[in-house]
C-alpha cells in the first residue's frame, strides 16, 4: 500500500483550510488580546465559509472524475459523497454558529479567540468523523470533536449553569467514550482488524457469535447514543443544552448530532449490514442478527421520552433540548429499516433539521440579545412586538413539528415512507402519533408569542428590535425551511447521491 498519495490529500483541503484558519485565529488572538474580536470572528467565519465552498468543490470534483470515493491514509479515511454531505451540513452549522456568536456580547466578554478556536477544532472533528473508516481514526475524530465541546459547554466561566453543564458533559462524555472504547476493543478482537473494510470482511466471512456481538453492540451504542442523545443515553442532553451558551447548544444540537449519525451509519452499515443488491435498495443485517428491532425500540423510546418530557419545560432551550432528543428518535427511524431509502431519508432529515433547529436557537439568541430571556414566559406577546421574529420562530417550530408546507414535514414524510416501504407500519404509526403530540409543546411557545400578551391597541405595542444582522441570519434559516418544504427535489437528489455509506461493498471501489 502506498502511504500518502499526495494527489488524494487534495481531497482534504477543507480540513486543511480549517486548520489554517485555526492557526490564524490563535495567532490573531495571541497577537492582539484585546479588541480583535471582530477580526477574529470574521476570519473564522470566512475560513469556515471557504472550507464549505471547498467541500462543495470536492463534491463536484468527485463527480467530475467519476469517482465513487477516495481513500486516504491507507483506508482509514474516505472522501465520498456521504462524508461530503455531512461536511456540508456541519460546515453550514459551524458557519451559522460562527456568525451568531459574532454579535454576542457575552461571547466577546469571555474571549472571542478561544471560542472560535474551539469551534474550529470541533468542526475539524466533525469533518473527520464523517470521513473516518477506521476504528482508530474514528476514536481520534470523536475526541477531536468532544474535548473542545466540553470546554465550549463551560465557556461562560463564571456562569454556574455553564460550568455545571461542562462538568456533566465531560464526565458523561468521558464515561461514554470509555465504554465505547471497551466495545471497540472487543470488535477489534472479534474481527482482527481496525479498518471497517477489514472488519466487514471478517463479519461477512462466517458465523458471528451473537453474545460477542451483543456485548459490542451494547457498549458501542453507549458512545454513539451519547453523541446523538438517544434514550437511554440522552440524559445529559437537557442539562447541558440548557446550561451551555446558546450558540454552543445550537452547535451541539446540530453539527455534533449530525456527526453522531454519520458515525452510526458508517459503523453499522459497514460492519453490521451489507446491501442485498444495490446500496439504494434493501440491506441485510450481518448473520441475520436482529439489531434493527433493538434500534427500533430505542428509537421509539427516544422520541417518546423526548416528547413527553418536553411538555413540562418552561425554559425554551431546555424544551428544544428535549425536542432534539425526540428528533434523534425520528432520525433513527430511517436507520432501522436497513434500506437505501432510509439512509436517504436520514440525510434529508438531518439537512432540513439543521436549518430549522439552528433557526430556533438563533431566535433565542436574538431575543436574549435584545434583552429578553430564555423562559417561555419571556416570549409572551413576542409575535406582536417583533412580527418578523415571531413569524420565523413559528415557522421553525411548526417545521420541527412536521407540518406542511415546511421542510420538516417532508423530512418526516420521507422517514415514514422508508418505514412503510419496509413494512414497519407499527413503527410508522407510533412515530406519526408522536410527531402529532409533539405539536403541543412547540405550540406552547407559539401560543406565548401570539395568543398571550395581545396588545389592546396597535399603538400599545412595545417593539422588540432584533436588529438587521440577526434578521438576515434568521431569514437565511427561514428560506430553506420553507423552500425545501415546497420544492425539495434537489435536496432529495443530493441525499440520494450521498447515501452511499458503505465503503466495503458494492461497485466502484477505487482500488
Amino acid at each position: 500500500m502506498e502511504l500518502g498519495v499526495v494527489d488524494n490529500l487534495a481531497y482534504l483541503t477543507p480540513e486543511f483550510i480549517l486548520t489554517a484558519t485555526l492557526a490564524g485565529v490563535i495567532t490573531l488572538d495571541l497577537a492582539r488580546p484585546k479588541g480583535a474580536s471582530g477580526a477574529i470572528s470574521k476570519l473564522a467565519a470566512t475560513g469556515i465559509g471557504a472550507a464549505l465552498i471547498m467541500v462543495l468543490i470536492t463534491f463536484f470534483e468527485l463527480e467530475y472524475r467519476q469517482l465513487t470515493r477516495v481513500f486516504l491514509f491507507a483506508d482509514s479515511f474516505v472522501v465520498d459523497p456521504f462524508s461530503l454531505f455531512f461536511k456540508t451540513v456541519a460546515g453550514v452549522c459551524s458557519f451559522l454558529v460562527a456568525l451568531f456568536a459574532a454579535r454576542m456580547r457575552r461571547v466577546e466578554a469571555h474571549g472571542t479567540g478561544e471560542f472560535y478556536s474551539l469551534l474550529l477544532v470541533t468542526t475539524i472533528g466533525v469533518f473527520l468523523m464523517s470521513s473516518a473508516v477506521d476504528l482508530v481514526g474514528l476514536v481520534v475524530a470523536i475526541e477531536t470533536l468532544s474535548i473542545p465541546s466540553y470546554v465550549l459547554a463551560g465557556f461562560y466561566k463564571r456562569d454556574r449553569g455553564s460550568s455545571e453543564a461542562a462538568l456533566k458533559y465531560v464526565l458523561y462524555g468521558a464515561v461514554a467514550t470509555g465504554t465505547m472504547l471497551m466495545g471497540l476493543s472487543f470488535l477489534y478482537g472479534l474481527a482482527g482488524d481496525t479498518t471497517f473494510a477489514g472488519i466487514a470482511r471478517a463479519m461477512n466471512s462466517g458465523n458471528v457469535d451473537i453474545l460477542s456481538l451483543s456485548i459490542i453492540l451494547g457498549l458501542v451504542l453507549v458512545g454513539v447514543g451519547f453523541k446523538i442523545s438517544a434514550a437511554p443515553f440522552h440524559m445529559w442532553t437537557p442539562d447541558v443544552y440548557e446550561g451551555s451558551p446558546t450558540p454552543v447548544t445550537a452547535y451541539l444540537a446540530t453539527a455534533s448530532k449530525a456527526a453522531g449519525f454519520a458515525v452510526l451509519l458508517r459503523l453499522f452499515y459497514n460492519i453490521l449490514a451489507r446491501p442485498e443488491g444495490s446500496p439504494t435498495g434493501q440491506w441485510l443485517p450481518i448473520g441475520d442478527a436482529g439489531w434493527t428491532q433493538l434500534v427500533a425500540v430505542i428509537s421509539v423510546l427516544t422520541m417518546t421520552i423526548g416528547n413527553l418530557a418536553a411538555y413540562r419545560q418552561t425554559n425554551v432551550k431546555r424544551l428544544l433540548a428535549y425536542s432534539s432528543i425526540a428528533h434523534a428518535g425520528y432520525i433513527l427511524l430511517g436507520f432501522v429499516v436497513l434500506h437505501g431509502l432510509g439512509i436517504m431519508a436520514m440525510l434529508f432529515y438531518i439537512a432540513v433539521y439543521v436549518f430549522m433547529n439552528l433557526g430556533a436557537f438563533l431566535s433565542i439568541i436574538a431575543v436574549s440579545e435584545a434583552g429578553g430571556g430564555e423562559e417561555i414566559s419571556d416570549f409572551r406577546g413576542l409575535g406582536w412586538r417583533s412580527p418578523f421574529l415571531g413569524l420565523c420562530l413559528s415557522a421553525f417550530l411548526f417545521s420541527l413539528t412536521g407540518l406542511p408546507p415546511f421542510a420538516g414535514f417532508v423530512g418526516k414524510a420521507y422517514l415514514f415512507a422508508a418505514l412503510v416501504k419496509n413494512g414497519w407500519i407499527w413503527l410508522a404509526v407510533i412515530a406519526a402519533l408522536n410527531s402529532a403530540v409533539s405539536l403541543y409543546y412547540y405550540v406552547r411557545v407559539v401560543k406565548a408569542m401570539y395568543l398571550e400578551g395581545i396588545p389592546r391597541n396597535e399603538n400599545d405595542v412595545v417593539p422588540l428590535r432584533i436588529g438587521g444582522y440577526f434578521g438576515i441570519l434568521l431569514f437565511v434559516c427561514l428560506v430553506p425551511t420553507i423552500v425545501l418544504g415546497i420544492y425539495w427535489q434537489p435536496l432529495q437528489k443530493l441525499a440520494m447521491h450521498s447515501s452511499g455509506v458503505n465503503t466495503t461493498q458494492g461497485p466502484g471501489l477505487p482500488r
Binding site: 477506521d134 470546554v151 470509555g178 472504547l181 476493543s185 413540562r312 431546555r318
Partner: protein, 127 residues
C-alpha cells in the same frame, strides 16, 4: 501455564467493572474521573491482548482467537492487524490524557465556583 487470552480479558473486564463501580459510587468528581481512567485502561488491556493473540481468519469466534497467530498482509495505515491494537492503545492513552486534562480543568472551574467538587451537588440543571 501460558497466559491465554481469557486471562487478559478477565483482567480487562475486572478493570472495567471496577471503573464503572467507581464512577457510580464516588461523589467526588476527580474520583469519577479516575474511574473513567480505569475503564479506558481496561479497553487498553483488551486491545493489547487482542493484538497479541489475534489471528485473522475467515471464521471468527471465541475458539479461533486462542490459536497462534499467522502473519497476514497488512491492511491499514497502522500496519498489520497485530500492530493495530497496540497503535490503538497508544492513541487511547494520549486521548485519555487530553480528556483528563480538560476534565480536570473544568472540575477546577467548578471548585472555584462552588468550593466543592461533589457531583451530587451540581444539580441546578434538572427536570
Amino acid at each position: 501455564m501460558i497466559a491465554s487470552l481469557e486471562w487478559f480479558l478477565l483482567i480487562g473486564a475486572f478493570l472495567f467493572a471496577t471503573g464503572v463501580y467507581t464512577i457510580l459510587t464516588r461523589k467526588n468528581a476527580v474520583s469519577v474521573l479516575m474511574g473513567v481512567e480505569l475503564v479506558l485502561n481496561a479497553a487498553n488491556i483488551n486491545l493489547i491482548a487482542f493484538s497479541r493473540f489475534i489471528k485473522p481468519v475467515s471464521s471468527i469466534g471465541p475458539q479461533s482467537v486462542a490459536l497462534p497467530m499467522e502473519p497476514v498482509a497488512a491492511s491499514g495505515i497502522y500496519g498489520a492487524p497485530w500492530i493495530q491494537g497496540q497503535v490503538f492503545a497508544a492513541f487511547v492513552i494520549v486521548l485519555a490524557a487530553a480528556e483528563a486534562a480538560v476534565a480536570l480543568g473544568i472540575i477546577l472551574g467548578i471548585y472555584r465556583g462552588l468550593g466543592d467538587v461533589n457531583v451530587d451537588e451540581t444539580v441546578r440543571l434538572k427536570g
